[in-house]
């Protein structure tokens, strides 16, 4: 029998609120600590207790971190979803179930292997408390999986000890429950399976962290002092993580006072209003929200664009429109964010693909918002924001200083003959601003959403209005030079593939799959809007570009066509919007089908 190592997908099917998350998290973390590349996906309902929830772990020696279709090992712990869970198992895969009750005949499949463990029966004599028995069921299947998959047992027991440090009474029973599972698997099942885990050194110094936590840390390191937010899945953990770390790292040691202010506002309108008010008054501030929140914030975003006030927003995108699927991922806010608000508006978007980029872009966004005096939106999504992702470690250059942009202090104001808030002194479209209270006589101005001249005086003059709108376009051109450039791999192919955000996760695997079919693509990963010169060049250099995005309406393609005046026929959409993250198989299939349908040549070189 051939044994495969570090290459499978396991899915845990549980009932939410049953305590499974901690056991499932430990499973993934154990593999991570054995140096094995893993990616995790929490597929959960918009509910607190009682509905189905799934946790998927992809294990890949080759470091493929995207979602892959099909499940190799199903841990089926939810009777309600049993039928669909069994159906999802790949032929030749495994079904782990609680065999305390026999499996219904109609649910059995001849082409998969059943692994029955009488979890309930095993725990009955061990734990008298019914609640404990239910909780430890999760830990017991973890113990069994350790034996079945050859996971180093002391890695798991070590984790239990760390997790329950301070609640020592829980350590013993947890380890006991792990042992029960392990022993059963060793005594009564064929352990280990031919699908196994093996210690490796793929991960170097990488960490496993969710994008929201990393983004919150970026805001903290980037000097945000005001955070205003309104709870909305999947963005809530950004504000919560900021609060957690600020309470650890931003409290004055002598006085116990806080060097930050967090306001849970009454709604998203208020949250962005607070951010804008704080930024107008010279504090770095941010909010975190999702699509419905962006909709509510649009009026204020237009004000900030026109009145030229910095603001940083995290948009952790979910499936819309309307409430859509609040606990599913999508990249469907691009257009509403890019052009948020009435009138002619355009906003800077940053598009992170990894937790490290969430961290870096958060700090960058605070700099860019100050430099450009405009809102900057970090477009993450549920996939990146709420799941533990493998990431390069977070790094801060201690020599780095904050770019507060063009702000005049009292001394500089004294040297100026006349201060003009909206004067384009440097030709980059960006004026100089002052914070309130800076100087007794100079630098005060009136901020408004109505038209004004270069000295901030109200006017309805058509010429002055158009002059100002043209300057804002110059500022937009400046923004295109300052935002993070796209990542390009151009090896002279005729076709390319353009992607951004979490579509990066399955991309390497998709490209490998396509290469086996003789399809070779150059790549470009967009990291920001407005698009830089490198994006124009890449598109011009290729006959055909696949644009991969996780929404129905090809919003990135629309942005490219509109902003760069590209022939739409050159851009072929690869779309997925079902709410799970896009898989390598989806990308491969759609690209491959296009090649076939259009009779495009494939390179079928034989590798020597």
């Amino acid at each position: 029998m051939t044994v495969s190592y570090n290459d499978f997908v396991v899915r845990f099917a549980n009932v939410n609120g049953s305590g499974s998350a901690s056991a499932n998290g430990m499973f993934a973390k154990a593999l991570f600590r054995m140096g094995v590349p893993v990616s995790t996906r929490n597929i959960f309902p918009s509910n607190i207790q009682g509905l189905p929830t799934w946790f998927e772990v992809r294990v890949s020696e080759r470091g493929y971190l995207g979602r892959r279709e099909g499940v190799d090992i199903m841990v089926a712990m939810n009777a309600e979803t049993y039928a669909e869970d069994v159906a999802d198992v790949n032929p030749g895969g495994y079904l782990l179930y609680d065999s305390s009750k026999p499996l219904a005949e109609e649910l059995r499949r001849a082409d998969i292997q059943e692994i029955g463990i009488p979890l309930a029966s095993l725990l009955l004599p061990e734990f008298s408390d019914i609640k404990q028995r239910s909780l430890f069921k999760n830990v017991t299947y973890l113990g069994a999986l350790a034996a079945l998959l050859n996971i180093e047992f002391d890695v798991i027991t070590g984790m239990v000890s760390t997790q329950y440090r301070g609640k020592d009474a829980l350590i013993g029973p947890n380890i006991r429950a792990l042992e029960i599972g392990r022993r059963y698997a060793e005594d009564y099942l064929q352990s280990p399976l031919p699908m196994q885990v093996k210690r490796t050194d793929q991960l170097a110094d990488r960490i496993m962290i969710d994008g929201n936590t990393a983004g919150a840390l970026g805001a903290l390191y980037g000097g945000a002092t005001v955070c205003a937010w309104y709870p909305i899945t999947p963005s809530t953990s950004v504000a919560e993580a900021f609060e957690k770390y600020a309470n650890q790292l931003r409290v004055d040691a002598d006085t116990g006072q806080r060097k930050f202010a967090i306001v849970q506002a009454e709604d998203e309108l208020s949250a962005i209003g607070i951010v804008i008010g704080a930024a107008w008054n010279g504090a770095r501030s941010f909010t975190a929200t999702s699509g419905p929140g962006i909709s509510l914030m649009t009026e204020f975003l237009g004000l900030a664009y026109f009145a030229e006030i910095p603001a940083v927003l995290f948009d952790i995108q979910r499936a819309g429109p309307s409430t859509g699927m609040p606990t599913r991922t999508q990249q469907s806010d691009l257009l509403s964010a890019a052009y948020a608000s009435h009138g002619d508006t355009r906003h800077v978007l940053l598009l992170p693909s990894t937790p490290k980029e969430c961290f870096d872009f958060a700090a960058t966004a605070l700099d860019l918002a100050d430099r450009l005096q405009t809102p900057v939106l970090i477009m993450s999504d549920l996939e990146l924001g709420m799941n533990d992702n493998l990431s390069e470690p977070l790094v801060w250059d201690d020599a780095r200083s904050y770019d507060r942009g063009k702000v005049l202090d009292a001394e500089t104001l004294d040297t100026l003959p006349r201060f003009g808030r909206y004067l384009d002194v440097d030709g980059d479209g960006i004026g100089y601003r002052t914070y309130p209270g800076t100087h007794p006589e100079k630098g005060a101005f009136f901020t408004r959403g109505t038209s004004r001249d270069e000295y901030a005086a109200y006017t309805e003059s058509p010429e002055v209005y158009e002059h100002n709108m043209q300057r804002l376009l110059r500022k937009w051109e400046t923004a295109a030079r300052l935002v993070p450039a796209a990542e390009v791999a151009d090896r002279g192919q005729r076709a390319g593939i353009l992607y951004f955000g979490t579509s990066a996760l399955p991309m390497r695997e998709a490209l490998d799959l396509l290469e086996t079919e003789g399809i070779h693509l150059d790549t470009i990963r967009i990291r920001a809007f407005p698009f830089g010169e490198e994006v124009v060049e890449f598109i011009n250099h290729h006959d055909l570009i696949f644009v991969v995005e996780q929404n129905r309406d090809a919003q990135m393609k629309t942005l490219l066509v509109t902003e760069l005046e590209i022939n739409p026929a050159k851009l072929v959409s690869v779309l997925y919007y079902g709410g799970l993250s896009i898989s390598a198989d989806t990308i491969q299939e759609q690209v491959s089908e296009y090649f076939t349908a259009n009779k495009l040549p494939r390179l079928t070189e034989v590798k020597s």
């Binding site: 790292l249 209003g273 804008i276 008010g277 704080a278 977070l394 914070y435 309130p436 009136f446």
Partner: protein
């Protein structure tokens, strides 16, 4: 509006205040509101109050929403920054501004459409947050800029200029502010400077959220017979409960008061707010009785003006959030960034 520009040169005999400034130093640009607009009287009262308190005119943040009232921050304190923001959202912008720099005096000016309709939610929540600011509503019961629609503070049965009656119950912002926990609540009348100026002074010096509802007649759309926000109606139906006078800390209180009981309220900065009780039954420290009184007089068609409630010991938002005494907008990298060593430890916790 007036088209006569104000001369830049001050009259040499204008009196100077304690920091050597005249009242002209506290003024703003020329008002573009209608001649006789109550809002201009409110702006003038703000100018007088700030000048008499000898506050530095550049150390203010003036914030407003949208509407006639919200244009007024241009018309006072031109040496300070102003922000004419979004309709109904002044409270959130003021919250952010105050969080960023707790050392600035924050004045929010709003209207009845701005605060009682589109921004009612924001109004309620800034009261709860206890932002240290003076929140003034120029209350004229009408939408002036869009030409005379009823606002939510207009009394049921009050008629529009064309004679149509208002069909809906009014929202009383004073009652709301009392109920939700404002630590300083007053009502006044734009035509009663002797009452309004001391209230503005006291509100500015109050350490916490101070709310003044100023009935401010709209001469264009709501100053006719049948309107309950007209000059004539308010003069005939207002009842002054508490006369307030504000004395800075270092000044001996020698003002001669009208007969009746007086009461001194010690303000956090050591200054004294002197209250003159006209009605012995009224206690400006009792939120519940203040609310009862306002509403029972309202039943009788009376508009209660004066200081209705003050809690001099109330905490403000910065105290609630336990922020540092230095303004947050002055903190630099050294004070804000935990550094790479701390980040390395955080990385380790994710392995």
């Amino acid at each position: 509006m007036t088209f006569v520009a104000k001369p830049r040169v001050h009259h040499p005999k204008l009196p100077l205040n304690e920091i050597g400034l005249t009242r002209r130093d506290y003024e703003g640009t020329v008002s573009t509101l209608c001649a006789g607009c109550g809002h201009d009287s409110v702006s003038a009262a703000i100018v007088q109050a700030c000048a008499e308190l000898s506050l530095p005119p550049h150390r203010f943040a003036k914030i407003s929403g949208i509407g006639c009232s919200s244009k007024t921050p241009s018309y006072f304190l031109s040496k300070s920054h102003g922000f004419n923001s979004v309709h109904g959202r002044m409270p959130s912008v003021a919250t952010g501004a105050n969080l960023a720099n707790r050392d600035l005096y924050c004045i929010g000016v709003s209207g009845d459409g701005d605060s009682a309709s589109i921004g009612l939610g924001q109004f309620a929540h800034i009261v709860r947050r206890r932002i240290n600011m003076l929140y003034i509503v120029d209350n004229n019961g009408t939408y002036g800029l869009t030409k005379g629609q009823f606002s939510a503070t207009n009394d049921k049965g009050s008629t529009s200029k064309k004679g149509a009656p208002n069909l809906y119950e009014p929202i009383d912002l004073v009652s709301m502010a009392l109920q939700i926990g404002a630590s300083f609540v007053a009502r006044s009348f734009s035509g009663d400077k002797s009452q309004l100026v001391p209230l503005i002074k006291a509100g500015l010096m109050h350490q916490g959220f101070a709310f003044i509802d100023v009935i401010s007649p709209c001469v264009a759309f709501n100053n006719h017979n049948g309107s309950t926000k007209s000059y004539e109606y308010i003069r005939g139906h207002s009842e002054n409960v508490v006369l307030a006078d504000y004395q800075p800390a270092h000044e001996e209180i020698t003002a001669d008061y009208e007969p009746g009981t007086t009461e001194d309220v010690n303000m956090p900065d050591g200054s004294i707010l002197r209250l003159s009780k006209l009605d012995d039954a009224f206690d400006p420290h009792n939120r519940v009785s203040a609310l009862n009184y306002v509403q029972s007089r309202q039943e009788e068609g009376e508009v209660v003006t004066g200081l209705l409630y003050v809690d001099p010991d109330a905490s403000d938002c910065h105290e609630i959030l336990e922020t540092v005494s230095q303004p947050l907008n002055e903190l630099n990298e050294q004070e804000l960034c935990p550094g790479n060593d701390a980040l390395a430890a955080i990385n380790e916790s994710f392995r």
